[in-house]
Symmetry: C2
Subunit: 360 residues, 2 copies
């Protein structure tokens, strides 16, 4: 059902951006506002928001549903003159906010037909509101991460002599489902040894060997909300001095960045805190990505923790803190938690230990 609070917040933001009407195209944003998932594939789907009016949902006949969700529905078909229909609802004298996701095949038609006086990318209005989680969302995010903590214990237990990465990965979904999750938030990354030095490694038929690092970057969905955590273990042998040093640097970067979190901090400063520690330790060039990303209904929500982001943290933000050191073809260590910004500080949503652990 349409959330009046979320809608009102979005309309306020939209107004600040100079528009009083917007076509929301992203199925995730439509779910966020209405509680209804519609996956239109290549077909047109948009929710028209207009100041002071009931939203209008344009959707293909193929996705017809009877449920009342607090919006007016306008059905179209594959042969409908889309622009003619939109003209009946869009104010031609106003600027029309466009969803950043809208495909060019629809947008170019609207521009050619001049259905509005101007077109602007106004997704930030929704993205901003989505970046401030409400109480319902925070509860779901907490529970999703709790499942992830519990799952990590079971993932670790899958590690034994001679096991393959893809063999381990294939068992993750069953573990999540048994713990009450409904899906992955992304395909699990299980990486042994040198593979852990590739931040985007996909599990393959690599076999575990003594001395390997074992990296799990994993997450699930609980009532549509995502978790995302990384832990790096060692197999059979405690790490030698250099690898221990790498691990401790990453841990210190993770911990120091988390410790500083509260409302009103520039996100680039959080990135800098972690990056400086790793750089001072001599591994700056081996930390090859941003420190973190926002998360919610999407594994990667809008917003990140990077050198380029000068926005301030705000109560209700949830993002990852995931420093890593990747020494090509040797070792990769990453430690990642999700963190919620609270009214006066922060709450780390993951509780699985970050101490060095050797799997026997």
């Amino acid at each position: 059902m349409l959330s009046k609070t979320r809608l009102a917040n979005v309309m306020d933001q939209l107004h600040s951006n100079g528009a009083e009407q917007m076509l929301v195209t992203d199925p995730v944003a439509i779910f966020y506002l209405t509680g209804k998932w519609i996956h239109p594939g290549e077909r047109f789907l948009s929710l028209l928001l207009k100041q002071g009016q009931k939203p209008v949902l344009f959707l293909n006949e193929l996705f017809r549903f009877e449920e009342e969700i607090g919006v007016d529905k306008v059905y179209i078909t594959d042969t409908t003159d889309l622009v003619a229909v939109l003209k009946q609802y869009v104010n031609p004298d106003g600027v029309l906010g466009i969803d950043k996701q809208m495909a060019a095949r629809f947008l170019l038609q609207m521009i050619d037909a001049k259905i509005a006086a101007g077109f602007i990318n106004s997704s930030i209005a929704i993205d901003h509101v989505r970046s401030i989680k409400d109480e319902t969302e925070i509860e779901l995010m907490r529970h999703s991460s709790l499942i992830n903590d519990q799952a990590m214990v079971q993932f670790k237990a899958l590690i034994h002599e001679g096991v393959y990465e893809d063999e381990v990965a294939a068992q993750c979904m069953g573990i999540y489902k048994a713990l009450g999750a409904e899906a992955y938030s992304f395909d699990p990354i299980v990486a042994f040894g040198a593979n852990s030095a590739d931040p985007h490694h996909m599990p393959d038929h690599t076999q575990l060997k003594e001395g390997d690092t074992v990296l799990f970057d994993v997450g699930c969905r609980y009532h549509d909300y995502c978790s995302d955590m990384t832990r790096t273990f060692f197999y059979k042998k405690a790490p030698a001095a250099e690898h221990r040093n790498v691990y401790e640097l990453v841990k210190q970067a993770n911990q120091s960045a988390e410790d500083m979190l509260k409302p009103g901090i520039e996100l680039c400063k959080v990135d800098a805190m972690a990056r400086d520690i790793i750089t001072d330790g001599g591994y700056g060039k081996d930390f090859t990505h941003r420190l973190g990303h926002f998360i919610g209904i999407e594994d990667h929500d809008f917003g990140d923790v990077s050198a380029a982001n000068h926005n301030l943290t705000a109560a209700g933000n949830i993002f990852s803190i995931e420093p890593g050191i990747y020494s090509t073809k040797q070792i990769g260590v990453r430690l990642e938690d999700l963190v919620l910004i609270t009214a006066d500080g922060h709450e780390v949503l993951n509780h699985y230990s970050k101490e060095i652990e050797v799997i026997e």
Copy 2:
């Protein structure tokens, strides 16, 4: 490596559409032209095609690769002024073809900065070329469907008393992989009884019972090329007269539509052939979707077999023929093959029997 033939064909089509330059955004189209898969997520990726010039690939630094693929590479980062970079390569006095998939967040910037004299959706140039499969593609499509035929035998063998839809679906990937496929072309549809009357049913925890229909709508990828086939079985009991009639109507619709295929037939007439048979049999309103869709690197390539499509079949086209009858809450029967249009007729790529089969 860049296919000079495919590129030349696309440039010819583009020229007919009134443009001499185009930004190709769709990763599938980029793979089709260059043989290289790049999945940019939310980041900008485009291949600039210009008449008589080497294509230029704009991609994020994160997706850097050394391999020579016959294009110039221009790396950008998350903080690059994208429009400034594009201006160095795009002819500002010419029309710029835009990929139908391009996201509004990029397109609106280009329009605002007037990087070209006009913007048109020119995806049809690529879609048209992709709809005519070359010999390499035809071989891969044949093999992908051959695997699908072999897999259907094994899927049927998973059916036994008390089995659940999701239990069967979970075993499909293993069967495909053992047969040499690399992935699903779409998540398998396994539907028992009344569930088979929902054309989009996703396997759930429904348990098989005597007298159920058992519908498999399944496909795999072989060297990136998709298969897609549907068969409907009966479990333990031969169908009663009405259901037998439904089955035979669907089979006749499927067969008659396939039989008429050769180059130069209006696609809407193929749809009409199947639809008229089902309508004359009294089930017109229960055949709720178009007869078929084109297929290739994507399970749903551009183009369909529907009442709205007046285009003519051409040698090299490959599409599905998939009539169905869905009597709400009772029975659903669909029979689907992929068919290739040849120089003087057609070749059905699936060979699994379409006769009524009762699984004991």
